[in-house]
Symmetry: C2
Subunit: 231 residues, 2 copies
Amino acid sequence: MEIQGLPGKLLAELGPSIASGELAEGAVLRIEELEERFGVSRTVVREAVRILESMRLVASRRRVGITVQPRRDWDVFDPLVIRWRLAGADRAAQLRSLGSLRVAVEPAAAALAAQHATADQCRELSALAVELTVTARAADLTAFLRHDIDFHATVLRASGNEMFAHLGDTVGAVLTGRTEHNLMPHQPRAYAVQLHREVAEAVCAGDAERAERAMRTIVTGALEELAAELG
Amino acid sequence: MEIQGLPGKLLAELGPSIASGELAEGAVLRIEELEERFGVSRTVVREAVRILESMRLVASRRRVGITVQPRRDWDVFDPLVIRWRLAGADRAAQLRSLGSLRVAVEPAAAALAAQHATADQCRELSALAVELTVTARAADLTAFLRHDIDFHATVLRASGNEMFAHLGDTVGAVLTGRTEHNLMPHQPRAYAVQLHREVAEAVCAGDAERAERAMRTIVTGALEELAAELG
DNA sequence: ATCTTGAATAAGTCATACCTTTGGGGCGAT
DNA sequence: ATCGCCCCAAAGGTATGACTTATTCAAGAT
């Protein structure tokens, strides 16, 4: 759990309820009601609500209560909101949004990585590319996933752009979700693995254009598979 | 102010202090100290701190206090964090990050917009392109800025991707900051204006490739100017 | 019908007491 | 002198009750 303590418990309950649409836009909660429902004090309820408010999932107004806000107001970049949506009924929409985001960001990150990656990061990318090849061949999806996440996170980090770097976890969540819901081929496609190797090579060689192209192929491929899977 | 009430006051003070580096990584605050400093109750302090914690600007530990977290942990996509950084000593770095993000996202958004824009959005884009032309010629920077922000926000919204759409405000903040700090030519370049018209046209014509290319030219140009300006 | 006013309601704030965790110092054993 | 254990104090975490303030809604006046 991200946020600790009792407020975290409330969040873990309320956040997903709202993100999944179970608590629809306009639904009203009251502090007192939440106190009773969770058996906690006002202090705790208020802190949890404040956090939801800062994510714009809810708005609190006097004499009215705590009302669930329309989706378009939600802070869709908040890591918790993303996780909650991925876990619930909104999963498909969230995956689509993130898919497009990846298509936009990851190729650009790869290009920057080719210019800014440190020697260590190059070594790590190369090593991860090897691991991907090995685990793909062995059809070890768990290890493959771990290295795949690591690979993309490393590229994003190597871009030298802090905002790109922060998308590492989010991309990780997407990949995890994809594997968990069997949106992945039973054995990773050799072609995709080959592209990862190419990204690693190009980044290490400082070839921004090739890195970008290879990465774009990877993420557009992923997006297409996703679209096919989700209809 | 985004977050209302007394906790908002604290945030408005603490957030910028941290974002600007005035309160450096590792600095320790105590609840009691903040109570006295701001003349508010524990409840209020705690709620403000909770929010800072959810942005990962600080972490709270028993027996230690509230410690400022290293930059790399910050939730750099949080709109408030972005605004605070833009307002303070971190402005240059934040603008650079956002510049790269724009280069990645806006062309992709323009391409999607060409496929998904509604008739209304097309009309709005066209009208805004006209306004840009007019206000640029009149060297009315204020009106130009307003329409420029609106233009980019509309393209992002028209992409049909909620995450892209949410970057509208952020891009607006960047453009505002650029104008306020005279990082803009005294009169908007005719060339840039022409590119906006081209984006509008291409989007309305459903020509994704041309829309993407024109938008890419705009944002890479902005990034280059920024780099030149900031060294 | 419209405006005013007042009462009811729910969030916002405060003060205080108490619980829980944890870092660090002191003490003893080795 | 060093190591390890234990206990205490410090600071955040939670609970509670009283009070304040804003806001809605409706009743009554115009």
